[in-house]
Amino acid sequence: MAATQFVVNGLLVGALFAAVAVGFALIWGVVDIINLAHGEMVMLGGYTSYWVLKLGTGTAESSVLLFLASIPVAIGLLFVVGYLLQRTLVSRVIGTDVFLTLLVTFGASIAIQQLAIRAWTANPRSIQVRFAEQSMALGGIVVPKMKLIAFAGALALTVAMYVFLQKTRTGRAIRAVSQNPEAAALVGIDVEHTRAVTFGVSSAIAGGIGAFIAVILNIQPQMGLIYTLKSFIIVVFGGVGSIPGALIGGLLLGSVEELVSGFISSQWTLAVSFSLLIVLLVVKPKGLFGEGAEQ
């Protein structure tokens, strides 16, 4: 029974990881860049939602609806941040050494993180959302209501992005640039703009998830790197460029982490997930669902 409870917890949190990883995979697939500042977008999204509520209502406690209303602000703001990050910094190193692209985003990650510490101190913060009853029991399994809402929100964002990529004109442009930037430019797609939109969309989703994380866990300026690394693990697991793969990878990673922290200790989760990653990289470098990720 305990195991079922852990798996349920893991699936609930895993959907958030998956949504963050989907954005990470999008940039990796379309622009061929590992955005090491991706976790910082989660952090900034969390803070945006926090400050909207705090400055709007004077307190970090809020009702569900008010909290949900703050998410579009986080999404919108982070879209702009992501768009500008690509336009001002990343676009200058596209097509150069892989290592340089990593270093630029790592530099951005450090700068954002440190500025956040200067601005908001390193203390963890969180948003409190009150219910009449915090959780409900389903057949002996306890499910916190907020986690369920976050789960639904994460799935909704992931599906929204999937539909956006498949059905809209911009989405098709993004996929075209991903397949062949030169051919895309020939048919009249503004490649630079499309890449920046990709960054924006990816960051926007990360920002929206950040708001949920501010409620169900907490936020602090240095939280970003862990989310970047988790995204990496998930994407490698699911295969680069595969959104369903990333979704399954996220749910699986969440479950594994909850099981490890439930049966062993929460301190070991990072070590276990990374050991899994290294084993996976060595055994099956293309991921379980990947098509053609180069090693």
Binding site: W28, I34, L89, R92, V93, T96, D97, V98, F99, L100, L102, L103, V104, F106, G107, A108, S109, I110, A111, I112, Q113, Q114, L115, R118, L225, L229, F232, V236, S265, Q267, W268, L270, A271, F274, S275, L277, I278, L281, V282, P285, E294, Q295
Partner: protein, 354 residues
């Protein structure tokens, strides 16, 4: 872009003729060993001339420390083309090894120091076999993962003192550490300088430029990569081994410092990665700047570090030494009717492409 570059080149050329830069680089190349000896003597003479333990000695010692770290990173990152984000893992292992051996096992510092280096090398060998099979994004993130896992493990274990770390009170004098770090640095520069002229060094560069071709030529690239990786692990481990006692305190955050890892990459890159002098000069330069910022604007040094990394990567990824030698070789264009210049350009593109 090209027009402005040419204009500024014209102005620059009258102040600093490429010919003289070329001459300067040739002299440095030719008298490398003599320069190293002079540098070592100058460094060693400071305490004799009256530099006493205190702020300035600490800053100089830290400069040597960072130069060791940057040069070690460059053996694998710059010379072999495997940029690692996890070099500080070896540093942490070395640091914890001396801390535990001297405090809990009451070993003398020299013995503990050697054992710590040995431990770091063995760890490097073990990890290297696994991660050196990966390339590009995968290698970089896997090494970052190794660093974070090592940090996490040191937080959990009892023997490392958990997250509160270990306080080390019985330590050698500041002067001992000054000479120890200086000595390590001189030995490492000598070794890397020597290697860069040997077959071993050329194979490392070949792996960086095109690993498949290097394999096709019959070189066992795994052997060369692992050897370079272990050499980097050895010096990084030694640096860490001395650092824990030098700092009199060690905890997971200091031992496995991710920001330092970026800092030493920035140093190697700023100075000119893939060269011998570059990482050392970069370490001296960037550490001076960071030290100044730490004095006059406390708390902003990491913001500056992030900014410095971005500016270096976008502005001049070849670093000071790389940019200078490229500038100097422009003279070849006139000497050889364009061929030599085209050749060097190709070389630069190859290394930038992979």
């Amino acid at each position: 872009m090209s027009t402005t570059e040419e204009e500024s080149d014209g102005a620059l050329r009258s102040i600093l003729p490429p010919k003289q830069v070329d001459w300067f680089i040739n002299v440095c190349d030719h008298y490398g060993w003599a320069l190293l000896l002079v540098g070592a003597l100058v460094g060693a003479s400071f305490p004799v001339l009256g530099l006493e333990g205190g702020y300035y000695m600490t800053v100089l010692t830290e400069m040597y420390l960072f130069a060791i770290l940057a040069l070690s990173w460059d053996i694998v990152g710059g010379q072999t083309g495997y940029p690692s984000f996890g070099n500080m893992a070896f540093f942490g292992i070395g640091a914890y090894a001396t801390a535990i051996l001297t405090k809990d096992f009451a070993l003398a510092f020299p013995t503990a120091f050697l054992l710590a280096g040995l431990l770091a090398v063995s760890f490097a060998g073990l990890i290297g076999i696994i991660v050196l099979r990966l390339r590009g994004h995968y290698f970089a993130i896997a090494t970052l993962g190794v660093l974070l896992v090592a940090q996490q493990v040191s937080r959990i274990l009892d023997i490392t003192g958990g997250s509160s770390g270990k306080i080390l009170l019985e330590t050698p004098t500041a002067e001992t550490f000054y000479y120890l770090f200086l000595g390590l640095l001189v030995v490492e520069i000598g070794l890397v300088y020597y290697i860069s002229g040997t077959r071993f060094g050329f194979v490392l560069n070949a792996i960086r430029d095109d690993e498949e071709k290097a394999t096709a030529m019959g070189f066992n690239t795994t052997y060369y990569k692992t050897a370079a990786w272990m050499l980097a692990g050895l010096f990084t481990g030694f640096a860490g081994a001395a650092y824990s006692l030098f700092n009199t305190f060690i905890d997971p955050q200091t031992a496995y410092n991710g920001a330092w890892n970026v800092e030493l990459i920035a140093m190697a890159l700023l100075g000119g990665s893939g060269t011998v002098a570059g990482p050392v000069l970069g370490a001296f330069g960037l550490h001076t700047i960071i030290e100044l910022v730490e004095t006059y604007a406390v708390g902003w040094q990491l913001v500056l570090l992030g900014g410095a990394v971005i500016v270096t990567v976008i502005g001049f990824p070849n670093g000071v030494v790389g940019t200078l030698s490229e500038y100097a070789s422009q003279m070849d264009y006139y000497k050889h009717g364009g061929m030599a210049a085209t050749d060097t350009d190709d070389g630069a593109e190859v290394s930038a492409d992979e």
